[in-house]
Amino acid sequence: MHQPLALQPLAPNDSTDIMAIANNPVLWICVAGVFGVIIIQSVIFMKAARTAAPSVDMSTQDIKTSFRSGAVSAIGPSLAVSLVAIALLGLFGAPAVLSRIGLIGSAAYDVSAAGIAAGSMGAKLGDASYTQSVFAVAFFAMSIGGAMWMLATLILTPVLRKGDAKIRSVNPAAMAIVPAAALIGAFSCLGLTELPKSGIHVLSFAVSAAVMGTCLLLAKKLGKSWLREWGLGISIVIGLGTAYLAVGA
């Protein structure tokens, strides 16, 4: 194939075969690395807790009970997170989903960061403009966002530990209003941005929002907190199911 250089497509960055790069072995190695770091951290922290336990009247049985309680209570939420993660596999691929949505971050922030990053390149996630380059930048945006959370933790924890009261006595009204306004503002703008794309976008958005509203209402009325945990997963599945039916209709 001897095309003049100028006529050659801008391969491979115009390719929309996201999975070709999303499953790059290096990314899998990084996922293994993050898993490994968390395992090492847990082992060190467990050992430290076990050593300190006798000094505060905490028996070996107490340690066992604590570990088991933590493990058992995490089963439900972990499965709920896994369901959300599976729904996002087709968009981001397994390595990105495992390291971003499963660990470190969360579906809400990471999907938003990816959407914002794609927007900054004039592209939309999931459609024809979602090229390999857009995926790479979106993945970068999600990861750097998570990194900033960790950076803030690394900087603030030692400061707070010294008992620096100043930093926590920030105007409580501002602390209550500003972050909440930032979150609701961000998610409402990101959500509404989806609407002009197509009628099915409107439908998926509305159905999912309605299902989440119902889940939260039932969780409160019936006192079933698992509905709150599973709300996002249930909303996504029903929303996507509706979209599938609407596309076929």
């Binding site: 790059n24 690395g33 993050v34 898993f35 847990s42 467990m46 050593t51 300190a52 107490d62 340690i63 604590s66 933590g70 209570s73 995490a74 972990s78 997170v81 087709g90 968009l91 397994a94 660990l103 579906a107 809400a108 922030y109 999907v111 938003s112 960061a113 914002i116 999931g126 380059s133 790479a136 930048v137 945006a141 750097i144 966002g145 990194a147 803030a152 690394l154 603030l156 530990r161 209550a176 209003i177 500003v178 972050p179 306004a181 609701i184 503002g185 961000a186 998610f187 409402s188 703008c189 959500g191 941005t193 989806e194 999912s208 989440m212 945990e229 996002l232 909303s235 996507l240 979209a243």
Partner: protein, 246 residues
């Protein structure tokens, strides 16, 4: 707000607890820095190591756009979780993620089960151990259900289903998350401002000036903050609650 763990260690004669604090803060920092570097290494490799034509400028723009939206949250979340988590668990929680829906309940249940008083040293240790337990379950379920089962699922579901998932998963996530955010924040006034500002940005401003698409979320965030602040209610807020989405 009830405190799960004692915050700063008081200088009593408990050298074992002092050792615990020293070990967890040193290794907490080391492991978190490793986690941070590894998690950023993946995408940087994709961007610069696979022949994609992406300039550093593009990354800076993407970073700025995300920072303009979530920058405040990056700082506020660690601040508000510290009194609940205590120093040791901070390094665990912000690396494992899903704090409010998974790690906090895990810590609370463990403390109840061993009868540890909130704020006591026993409670602090119980929280750290419970989070280790939660992390173990979480890693296993992710590896099995997402890593193995999920990858298999993607390979067997019909392409038409996969296509629908890719196209419409974004509006379904955002629809649900918006409702979650509104319900968990319980600030009706702010919610009205947010929806109004966003509607103006998306349906009026963007069609008129399409080049603003890059900063549209930042405009909505800033606009909502300003309106919510200047038209805030008269009720005085005395306690700061963690900002989270349920």
């Amino acid at each position: 707000m009830s405190s799960i763990t004692s915050a700063p260690t008081t200088p009593d004669n408990n050298t074992a607890m002092a050792d615990f604090s020293r070990t967890t803060s040193r290794w907490g920092q080391i492991t978190m820095i490793c986690g941070l570097l590894i998690s950023v290494a993946g995408p940087l490799y994709l961007v610069f190591g696979t022949g994609l034509d992406i300039g550093p400028g593009q990354l800076w723009i993407a970073f700025a756009a995300v920072a303009a939206t979530f920058g405040i949250i990056w700082i506020v979340e660690p601040l508000t979780y510290y009194p609940i988590l205590g120093p040791a668990a901070m390094y665990q929680a912000f690396m494992i993620g899903n704090i409010s829906n998974k790690l906090l309940p895990a810590a609370l249940i463990a403390q109840t089960n061993i009868g540890a008083k909130p704020g006591s040293k026993r409670a602090e240790l119980a929280a750290v151990v419970a989070i280790c337990g939660a992390a173990a379950v979480h890693l296993i379920s992710l590896a099995i259900f997402v890593g193995l089962l999920g990858s298999w699922l993607i390979s067997v579901i019909p392409p038409s289903v996969l296509l629908v998932t890719r196209l419409y998963v974004l509006p379904t996530v955002l629809g649900a998350v918006l409702v979650q955010a509104i319900v968990s924040m319980k600030q009706p006034r702010t919610t009205v401002f947010a929806l109004l500002v966003s509607a103006v940005v998306v349906f009026v401003l963007l069609p008129l000036v399409p080049s603003l698409a890059m900063v549209s979320t930042a405009i909505a965030v800033l606009g909502t903050i300003l309106l919510a602040w200047f038209f805030r209610g008269k009720t005085t807020i005395t306690e700061v609650k963690p900002i989270h989405i349920e």
